[in-house]
């Protein structure tokens, strides 16, 4: 039987078990990479950030309290690595926007159908905070209070970002495929 995340974490924290850490990385690396690709839309940068996320995970694993899903906690680490990279990029390029300009044709993965491609593109067009809130909510399964904590924003603001984002997505999807 596959050991649970909690078992692996206990083995890593208590005994520094490298095999357990390797298993944990292999189990979650697709999730982390997909999440970072949605955030930065740059394959090379996402790969670097995946590595930084797991290094950070290893050094901070003893801080995981077990409250909330491990996946959401790991997603939070990945999001913070993305923010740090975006800030570095911003100071380097003297850009005001935290997020690099997203090429609207860039897709995160091979979409399973045309409508998911539309949604992927519509997601890329969202304002940065709305996009991040959607990614943390649907990509990381974070609760609204968890998103508020992660994005350092009031809970009401997060709810408002999510509602506005969904309205924008609805509008964009309706205009791209009016027959739906």
């Amino acid at each position: 039987m596959e050991p649970s995340d909690a078992d692996l974490i206990a083995r890593i924290v208590v005994a520094g078990d490298r095999t357990a850490f390797t298993l944990l990385v292999r189990r979650h690396q697709a999730f982390v990479r997909s999440l970072l690709l949605h955030l930065c839309r740059d394959h090379a940068l996402a790969d670097d950030l995946v590595q930084e996320t797991f290094v950070k995970l290893f050094t901070n694993l003893d801080r995981y309290s077990g409250e909330g899903a491990f996946r959401s906690w790991l997603g939070g680490i990945a999001y913070r690595q993305f923010l740090m990279a975006a800030r570095r990029q911003r100071s380097h390029d003297n850009k005001l926007d935290l997020y690099a300009a997203v090429p609207l044709t860039a897709t995160v993965s091979v979409p399973e159908n045309a409508s998911s491609l539309d949604l992927d593109r519509a997601l890329a067009r969202l304002p940065e905070q709305q996009r991040a809130a959607i990614i943390l909510s649907y990509g990381c399964d974070m609760s609204h209070p968890e998103i508020a904590r992660e994005m350092k924003a009031p809970l009401g603001t997060v709810k408002s970002w999510l509602a506005q984002a969904k309205a924008l997505l609805r509008d964009q999807l309706a205009s791209s495929r009016p027959e739906e």
Partner: protein, 78 residues
């Protein structure tokens, strides 16, 4: 018109599909290497700090201090 539930379902499916399709390079070996490198750096810096502390107290250790300074410079440039 696309309702709220449909948007919820489609967003969940989008992220689930992305995770299924993304083929990550196995980064576990590389991460273990990075962690080992960081551990080595920490050990070197700790050793350097110890020798420097001793050298400040004992002038006879100043030649060793030179070696340590070079080592620290190498670590900083790693």
């Amino acid at each position: 018109m696309i309702d709220d539930h449909k948007i919820d379902d489609r967003l969940r499916e989008l992220f689930a599909a992305a995770e299924r399709h993304v083929v990550p390079a196995d980064v576990s070996a590389r991460i273990v290497e990075v962690l080992a490198h960081q551990r080595r750096q920490r050990r070197h810096l700790l050793l350097a700090a110890t020798v420097l502390g001793a050298a400040l107290a004992l002038p006879s250790l100043w030649p060793a201090m030179m070696i340590v300074t070079e080592r620290m410079a190498a670590i900083v440039h790693m």
